[in-house]
Assembly symmetry: C2
Homo-oligomer: 353 residues x 2
Amino acid sequence: MTISSLRISNLRNISESELDPAKSNNLIWGSNGSGKTSILESIYLLGRGRSFRSSKAGPLIKKSEESLSVFSQYNKQNQHYRIGISKTNTSTEVKINEENINKLSSLASILPLHIITPQSHQILEREPEFRRRFIDWGVFHVEHDHNQLLSRFIKTLNQRNAALRSDTGQARIWDRELIKTGEQINAHRFKYLQLLEEALKNELDLFLPIFKCTFDWRPGWDREKGFEHALKETFQSDCKRGFTQSGPQRADLVIRIDGQKAAEVASRGQQKLLITALKIAQIKVTSQINGEEQILLLDDLAAELDRENLGKTLNRIQALSVQSFITATDDILFKDFDIERVFHVEHGRIDTG
Amino acid sequence: MTISSLRISNLRNISESELDPAKSNNLIWGSNGSGKTSILESIYLLGRGRSFRSSKAGPLIKKSEESLSVFSQYNKQNQHYRIGISKTNTSTEVKINEENINKLSSLASILPLHIITPQSHQILEREPEFRRRFIDWGVFHVEHDHNQLLSRFIKTLNQRNAALRSDTGQARIWDRELIKTGEQINAHRFKYLQLLEEALKNELDLFLPIFKCTFDWRPGWDREKGFEHALKETFQSDCKRGFTQSGPQRADLVIRIDGQKAAEVASRGQQKLLITALKIAQIKVTSQINGEEQILLLDDLAAELDRENLGKTLNRIQALSVQSFITATDDILFKDFDIERVFHVEHGRIDTG
């Protein structure tokens, strides 16, 4: 599964640029602000319909232009796709083989991609929401109805919360639907985490052999008693607070190293290795289930890694059957490694070599 | 103002180690997880009484040990200090010249230090609280009663909020004190920001000449109408919500580049340059007012910067009269620069050279 050509128009500081990526590793290097991350953003747009750096289209569109567009030729299991996306400040248009597509999740199914950026530390450092998002993204690729299920759950939850606040005593009529969707979401997540943990073992042995990492799944309620019981038990205090206190919207994955929170005991570099291990395990699980090749974007891979660990990471990526796009401020650190194609970016212009 | 010797015991993976830093630039390099950031943590402990990586002492203390300690010899304006700090899981003991010190803020006044880490991006990316903390830290060094004022304000605010929730109608009795302290806090912050903006000009010209950065101060209420008016205006809705909606606890500094939020338009490297400019401006303001030299900690300085910008940053730091401690995964990137002393760290052991 590879992108064989990529054309970018008016995205950040890139006016018009084209590149023909190689099937395996692609290195994109340039100075700060040259536009290298914008190339990753353009690929991410093709796979997810939005940027990983900004929720709004505005900052993505080149100054004094009204729209941006990205177009790619893309091969997957002997099929050839032409995928295009264009964005104005207010609208998004997606075309696959010249046909308009309304659902952005179609993109995610066709072009499954993973990304590691300096912000990926959020998985370890920040609120449970960031870990749920990581897990749900993985689940979506193995259980395609997961996103619909999540939407249905959130809709029911909002209705229950509104009823809790309106004092009509009607809140509990939503419980049945809430329990049904909530337990299904948890079952998906739990099953996925088991696969992920299995796939992780090898990666952790490789990347963090000195540590003992443990993963503790919290579904959002007392696991012994179950979701239904939790809803009953907290109903009085739910009414008082005006929102539902248990459920998959409160789930978390506690990641520990030698018994303590990973973000507190591992160095930044070690955290990056742990995140890399998690993402590689995610890629492995997806390809086990779907037999699918995937795309991996690595923004500023060398940052925070020493030379040995950079090498380890590159070798591991090469061993996976992914097409990868790696950015760097310098190509010097990559001289010893087998990089299939190198692009240099300067002031938004891309050159091969 | 310099640390002339530093002794670390049982901090993370450092059992017992000693180093004699140089007066200007010190480079500390080693592999991922070697212990280089722990050395910065030990210096930070001396200046602030806590770590920048963890709010708890537990993760700082070496495994299977019960306490950590850091001791330093320190010279400031021809005075010699011996500063020591030790921590167990539940207690902190600070000694300055063998005398026990109860207030951690005494450390901050004696040993003013600044830090830039990969997490410093939070100033641009995250909630207003992170920008308020940055500003208040700067204000504290020029208005020494600022922290007391903040505590007094928070105490009054909590009393007002409790009264709002208790429906006794007594909430407004706190308004006079709230307005008095709140306006004083804002006056401090506003005055400080004007100094900061002035000091920033030169730094922005140097680090980000292609951008137009603007700073928009929001005191936490409508500036035209004032704090008193804002409190009156929102009183009914404060009662309903159970908390005070205007005041310096809601202040923010909106940082824009070419009219858009800096975190959305600047690349990660450019953001790092902007943060560096802000911190250098902060150092300049503090030394203008206090005539004080300061200490600057730079964790993984090279990450996300290209070689030219790394050079620019190092040259600029050399031109300030600060003692600096820079960590790196490799010394190769620093070969071309004038570094006064180099330390190599391996498995928690520190060697000169």
